[in-house]
Amino acid sequence: MIKNLEQLEKYSKECTSCLEAKLKGEDGKRHVVVCGDTGCLASHSGEIIEKFEKVIAEKKLGDKVTVNRVACFGYCSQGPFVKIYPEETTYRAVKVEDVDEIVESDLIGGKIVERLLYVDEKTGKKVVKQDDIPYYEKQVHIALHGCGSLNPEKIEEAFGEGAFKGLARALTMDRQAVIDEILKSGLRGRGGGGFPTGKKWQFAYAQPEGAKYVVCNGDEGDPGAFMDRAILEANALKVIEGMMIAGYAIGAQNGYFYIRAEYPVAVARLKLAIKQAEELGLLGDNILGTNFSFRCHIRLGAGAFVCGEETALLNSIQGQRGMPRPRPPFPAVKGLWDSPTIVNNVETLACVPYILREGYEKFAANGTERSKGTKVFALGGKVNNVGLVEIPMGTTLRELIFDIGGGVPNGKKFKAIQTGGPSGGCLTEADLDAEIDFDNLVARGSMMGSGGAIVMDEDNCMVDVAKFYMEFICDESCGKCSPCRIGTKRMLETLTKITEGKATMEDLDKLEELAAHIKANSLCALGQTAPNPILSTLKAFKNEYIAHIVDKKCPAHVCKALMQYVIDKEKCAGCGLCEKQCPVSAISKTDYVAPGRKLPARVIDPAKCVKCGLCMASCKFQAISKK
């Protein structure tokens, strides 16, 4: 049990020297850490860990080597990662069959397995340490700190990295001084809106004493974003500490985590961290010998995107349908069970201990004038380096996509980057040099959102993308207010008409008008931002909409009603594979035999074709294309 600040300091020191000994090899051991996150697990990192354990036991290396499963390294497209301390040798794209060689050559022989190292594309050189890989060079890890190094199930390692030092400092400060520190840091809500965190706390602080609550919004619903899951899986204690600091500042005694049910590992890690903190006496009554008492509770979501909206989330905790209600009153005045409540996102709370521990100046040293600190993005889609990226605010989109993301694969042309999820918008070539911050992205017709960043190339149809988001919103609209419930359905119908080549220019005008109404009249942010995917694509890609409507063509050949598969008879070798693959017998022989070929070319009957694309995927001669 840790009963006061001195005991905490002593415990932290022990943990720090223990962790340093581990990372620097002073304990005489070597430590294998393997990424155990979803992406890497699907690429068999679970089996890799088992194999390491098996081989190490067989070779009787058990007292010299440990195997640790850690959270996301962030560079998912190069996973699974295996890192060996103290040398920090980092192997990428490791397979189960590589384990023997790593053990034999590196762990026993002390010789690096060169072929598994990352190769810098520009210089052609092999990179040994993770930090030297260009993907990580421009990153600054505050929220993601500990991902890919700490063992998330050992609370001592988190203490070794300074856990609870932020809370310890906060507890020696006046409550208002804690809020001032957050205000001065310039921290803004990482979940989407970008509301100043300190201001939110101030509102709740100003309410009369009594039951108050801190709620952590872990209902990460933006498709394509998974930073909150990664943070919780890597270092849940950090988020707990952030919640406790918030609780101390506003005068709350209880905190609720609302986590997506889709994240079982994050929930398990959070439960474990809460239990371990309780056992140490760091959650409960009279924490660290002060009169501050705090308890953490977990509530699970059940698959409703709208519950990311704070009033809907509170209703869900209260056992109701997750529908938003009008604000004011804001939750800071009247929230959970009608008591003052602040709702903060996972990433926001993860930044709080850092600010208190290191001081607001250090946090605010990164960023732009009005957006301080860093932001985590989940970079995905048509980009070479897929994964989690934490960059200082003010980094440009070009740096994000091309320097860190490594550009668009297969020599294709960059078309757009979608940020902010279903509430955000698409940014284009013209926006590439824009500095990323809350206000800049909004000014350009998108938004920061929770940090999803999906890159699209010339093969993506922007009308189809808008339709994809509208389907999502339609599905997820809670149905409470009519602009959102009916309006999004009407917008989807119009978009469907456009992608089927059945719309007129008048439909397009109506779509724009309707979008403006929905934006102005919806009850909550879900409806108010629902038209954004349409408006932003209309702004930058109106010509694509017109091509669908007037020319009845989908320039990217995505919309099935407006495209065809065709066989180039000069390239067709007549092998007949496509004919066999076709599920609807739409392919037949012609009389034509291309020069140099022996068999007759095939042809597709557009009347029968269901446009499944199997023929094109099966053709070994690249003779089939979309038109």
């Binding site: 979803t38 992406g39 697990l41 699907a42 690429s43 998912c76 497209s77 996973g79 619903g221 933006d222 498709p223 394509g224 974003a225 998974f226 899951r229 049910a261 889709e262 994240y263 509770h297 509530r299 699970l300 979501g301 059940a302 698959g303 409703a304 995107f305 869900s316 905790i317 209260q318 056992g319 109701q320 349908r321 997750g322 529908m323 069970w337 989940a378 995905g380 889609g381 048509k382 897929v386 994964g387 979608q418 999820g421 999803g452 999906i454 699209m456 993506n460 993308v465 994809f468 988001y469 999502f472 809670c478 599920p583 499944c612 694309g613 199997l614 995927a617």
Partner: protein
């Protein structure tokens, strides 16, 4: 209406009892029932209502609001096709369509033999291996229509049983 077995009623009541000390625990109760009993039909809701004092109408409202709660039993294998943005731009729709075609069911439906349920999911956070499919928690990376065929065959043959 089908009657619940005594064992089932006991199980549901036991789940309700777990959260006696919690404020407004309905979501937690329903989550546990969904996970442990498999689905939440009206008969089950009646037991919950009796235990908690919450009207069945309200419970029904909550059950039908959230996509995780189901009024009907799900298949032995629940195929979750990720339709998050990262998967979608990499062709996830083709994967859903292929499962649909092979199994003869639409997303949200269960095959008559009770073997498969097809679900379209919104982002499972496996964007680096898009398009991804998760079947009873096992994640399959970088799916193609061809690998769909193989996976269905494998599951039918009991490879992952």
């Amino acid at each position: 209406m089908a009657r619940l077995s005594e064992a089932a009623v006991k199980q549901i009541k036991e789940i309700c009892d777990r959260y006696q000390d919690e404020n407004t625990p309905l979501m937690m109760i329903l989550s546990d029932i969904q996970n442990e009993y498999g689905y939440i039909p009206l008969e089950v809701q009646e037991v919950v209502s009796e235990k908690t004092g919450i009207p069945v109408a309200e419970i029904y409202g909550v059950v039908t609001f959230y996509s995780f709660f189901s009024l009907k039993p799900k298949g032995k294998y629940v195929i979750g096709c990720c339709l998050g943005t990262a998967c979608y731009v990499k062709g996830a729709q083709l994967i859903v369509d292929k499962f649909s075609e092979l199994l003869g069911i639409k997303p949200g439906e269960t095959t008559e033999d009770g073997l498969f349920t097809l679900d379209a999911l919104r982002c499972i956070g496996a964007c680096s291996i898009a398009p991804a499919v998760s079947i009873n928690g096992r994640v399959f990376p970088k799916m193609t229509p061809d690998s769909v065929v193989k996976i269905v065959e494998d599951y039918r043959a009991g490879v992952y049983a």
